[in-house]
Amino acid sequence: MLRAQGKAVHQCDQGWVPVFVDQEQSISLMSVGFLLENPNEAVVWRGPKKHALIKQFVSDVAWGELDYLVVDTPPGTSDEHMATVEALRPYRPLGALVVTTPQAVSVGDVRRELTFCRKTGLQVIGVVENMSGFVCPHCADCTNVFSRGGGEELAQLAGVPFLGSVPLDPQLTRSLEEGRDFIQEFPKSTAYAALTSIAQKVLHRMPALHS
């Protein structure tokens, strides 16, 4: 998605060097994707091996001076999630952004994710409702393709902040597919407005997580 496919990860004295995805070198990336010889190769690992790699991603990567480390996780409440919380626990502030889609079936699973956060002592920065409505490019009518309202309801139920909804935007999907900079190219899109508003709220809430 960040147009970094095929890049290689090198070693330096401080550890593995993450891959920079932009000219200004403001965003660096580490992924198991960089360690695969063939992008179509399946990573068929059981829990312990995944756990070990995640620990290495935290301790053995030369991240350098960072303002924010964002960790993208797979769905679930298993090895990867436990490994990440364990590895990052010594560092503050640490918080979770919980993403759901609007429909009740998704909210049904994400409720359990919020329980995971509570049980592991992971503070929730807030809930984001993704794929929230689709504006037809032909007639501008908005359809709630995946229903609506679930994210806000979930946040209320769990007593955590609701950070906002991001609509379905095929331009965003296309940009990700082609590794283009959505923020640069489509500043007028409703998804852009939603994403920047959520980012602002996250920045605003981070200092409060220190305690």
Partner: protein
Amino acid sequence: MEEAPHGCPGADSAQAGRGASCQGCPNQRLCASGAGAAPDPAVEEIKEKMKTVKHRILVLSGKGGVGKSTFSAHLAYGLAEDGDTQVALLDIDICGPSIPKIMGLEGEQVHQSGSGWSPVYMEDNLGVMSVGFLLSSPDDAVIWRGPKKNGMIKQFLRDVDWGDVDYLIVDTPPGTSDEHLSVVQYLAAAHIDGAVILTTPQEVALQDVRKEISFCHKVKLPIIGVVENMSGFICPKCKKESQIFPPTTGGAEAMCQDLKIPLLGKVPLDPLIGKSCDKGQSFFIEAPDSPATAAYKSIIQRIQEFCSSRQSHNENLISS
């Protein structure tokens, strides 16, 4: 096994307990003794149990959120429309068990009898099992590592009294990890007819499907075919079609042609699908005239044909 070191050769490899990375690992002695490589007796027990099950189908996806559980539920509904066909649906997504909600079975309990656990019956000919039925609250999280999830899957396959079943459908979580390895290993002696792989049209999803296909090849799991979900959206107001998830690299069609794997069909995005699932209703009943229903029905028929042709093939092999 709790934690393996980086470079762990695997408990069942020839190097188990003997590799350089094994030094200092708490499981070293166990692995070196060959205990890790001993076949699990459950595999044979499951083979016995599976004698009353005619066909076993896995539903896989590389990526989350592509509609796998929705598809599994509707595959079950579709097959069970014929009252003489016995269908069983097993949900092995231990951390995110959505099947009970999708099928309107939330709050149902699993009962034990002399012959094992009873599945929850949606209809007389459609039984369902999920970890969701074992959780007391919708907020309960299953925070388990791989080995514990594997234990649950073993129990589901060995201890559930499925009875005489024509089709056992196994809904999986996304990816290629513990759950997938376990279900393939535990059913090794019983044989899986094949896997149906779900995707959405965009390249980011297809990349993960290619990995899923590679997994199937690695574990010698036949592939029934690929289903492209959320394939086009018809605006309910102006009726024009748009692509919410644009097939920038040709979608599943191009990928299937490339990899010589059948494309079972494309299901368009109908907002009623999500709504039906949220209500725990079958979409086929809520929207019988939707193009999505027609697409599903055609795909289900192709899956049945695949299973029947395998059955005839195996019968010919036995009689020849």
